[in-house]
């Protein structure tokens, strides 16, 4: 009984300790990010690494979701005799929710694991210490650049996922019931305003912040050799996915409140 109580206490302590350390880490990264020298070259390299190398996977995921959504939705709408609403329903779903969330989760998997494992390996092989003894701030060089790259790149990747999703939804729809792309887009965006489009796309910048922050934090506190690096990669993906989903719930509520 007492061992259960003490393990619960340790769990609660660990939970608060993790958030406390994350807070301190965030403060150090923020301070490093806003003070010169700025690492523009490293930032550009990270934008390329995170952005262009995630593009094929994000585009593929967006395309697959678009096609599936069109096929599945068609069945439901036909039952109610509302198949003409298909473009609007699919485009709305993709741009409002599925595109941003799929992009966030795909990037959690690819980039979260990548950053976590890379920084974790650097930590256990003392490369981060070597950066520090060279009088270079690792929070600026390694963490701030990666986090900022994630923030900048996520909305762009979301646009790519949305675009591929809409195109593949049209292809899937046109195979069953011929419709021109122009007509599909016209019908799809007929119920759309600019305010419907911007908040869901730009909320992914917050997903980027979460993915970059969690992966860099987990990476830079890695302990215990290769096993520790493996644990870091897994934890980076699991925690960033969890926080992205939680953040999405909160932001959907806020978007509904502020952009009704």
């Amino acid at each position: 009984m007492s061992s259960t109580a003490s393990s619960n206490t340790a769990l609660i302590n660990g939970f608060f300790e993790w958030f406390g350390e994350l807070g301190l880490f965030s403060w150090q990264v923020l301070r490093a990010a806003v003070t010169p020298p700025f690492e523009f070259r490293e930032l550009a390299r990270q934008i390329d690494e995170i952005g262009s190398k995630s593009f094929p996977l994000v585009a593929l995921a967006g395309a697959a979701i678009g096609a599936i959504l069109a096929l599945e939705t068609r069945d439901s709408l036909v039952r109610f005799g509302a198949s003409s609403l298909l473009p609007a329903a699919v485009v709305y779903s993709i741009i409002h929710e599925i595109g941003p969330v799929v992009t966030g989760l795909v990037v959690c998997g690819r980039v979260g694991a990548g950053i976590g494992a890379e920084l974790g390996s650097m930590k256990v092989t003392e490369q981060i210490d070597a950066i520090e003894v060279s009088a270079v701030n690792p929070y600026r060089l390694l963490a701030a650049t990666r986090i900022l790259a994630c923030i900048l790149v996520l909305p762009l990747l979301t646009l790519a996922a949305d675009f591929c999703g809409v195109v593949m939804a049209w292809v899937a729809d046109a195979m069953v019931d011929p419709i021109t792309f122009h007509q599909f887009i016209h019908n799809g965006f007929s119920v759309f305003g600019f305010s419907d489009f911007l908040p869901p796309t730009f909320k992914t910048a917050v997903f980027g912040l979460i993915i970059g922050l969690v992966a860099c934090f987990q990476g830079m506190r890695t302990r215990g050799g290769t096993e520790g690096v493996g644990r870091t990669a897994t934890n980076s993906v699991v925690l960033s996915s969890l926080f992205v989903i939680l953040a999405d719930v909160i932001m959907v509520k806020l978007i509904v409140m502020f952009f009704p």
């Binding site: 020298p37 650097m122 003392e126 070597a130 950066i131 060279s134 009088a135």
Partner: protein, 253 residues
């Protein structure tokens, strides 16, 4: 001996007073006092896990002591802000036990790293400096190789070149010959001696290798249970009748 150094050289570049460091219940350093003068090499010896590497990391500020002071060129570094600490670090070179080369950068990029981030040296001048440094450690033919493509001894040489990039006046070496064969160890020792003569730095070498310590260090400090139990020349160590010292010298400790 410490007092003599102060008289002949003024304020020594490295002065440690009453350093304490624990990890949980384990006391690693329990009141360490050491001084190292310019041009002098101090070897820190001791069993594995006695805090020798931790001592070096405290001196360069990547570990914080629980108590005590670390004075570098007369400036206390415990508790100073990062900007001031980095200004001091630019005067120090550090060779890691496993060299800790950046594995995504080539040999020349590794050596150029401190120059690129701490100086305004133009590209061509920086390249000349990198080539000069790599030549001084006998690695002039391997500029474009990746760290994974060179041997452990070569990685140590590149690590040494990187440590010397900013022309430091304090050099900290963590197990420079660990994991190397006797011939390569001898070559690294010769290289360290040559570089010490050229740069007249204050050096602290952490090592298990008695032969290496005898070759490169003028003074030795033996750590045991968190304390310096003997400080002196290699001859002083050999003459000691302390059981731990004699066991250590016979490799029985």
């Amino acid at each position: 001996m410490i007092e003599n150094l102060e008289k002949t050289n003024g304020e020594p570049p490295v002065v440690l007073r009453g350093l304490h460091k624990s990890f949980g219940e384990q006391v690693v350093l329990n009141g360490i006092d050491l001084k190292v003068a310019r041009g002098e090499t101090l070897a820190v010896l001791g069993r594995s896990g006695t805090g020798k590497s931790v001592l070096l990391k405290i001196i360069i500020g990547i570990e914080k002591p629980d108590a005590g002071s670390v004075s570098i060129h007369g400036q206390e570094i415990t508790g100073i802000n990062l900007g001031k600490l980095n200004a001091i670090r630019r005067k120090m070179g550090f060779l890691f036990q496993q060299a800790a080369l950046y594995d995504s950068l080539t040999v020349e990029e590794n050596v150029a790293f401190p120059l690129k981030h701490n100086t305004n040296m133009p590209g061509s001048e920086r390249q000349d400096r990198v080539e000069e440094l790599l030549k001084s450690v006998g690695m002039e033919g391997d500029l474009k190789k990746m760290p994974s493509d060179i041997s452990g001894g070569m990685q140590k040489r590149v690590g040494l070149a990187r440590a010397l990039a900013l022309d430091p006046d304090i050099l900290l070496l963590d197990e420079p010959t660990a994991g190397l064969d006797p011939i390569t160890s001898g070559e690294i020792d010769e290289l360290i001696l040559k570089l010490q003569k050229e740069h007249a730095m204050a050096s602290i070498v952490v090592t298990h290798d008695l032969q290496s310590a005898k070759t490169i260090a003028g003074r030795l400090a033996l750590l045991h249970e968190g304390n310096v139990i003997l400080e002196g020349t290699f001859a002083d160590l050999e003459k000691s009748d302390d059981k731990f010292v004699t066991d250590f010298m016979r490799r029985d400790a």
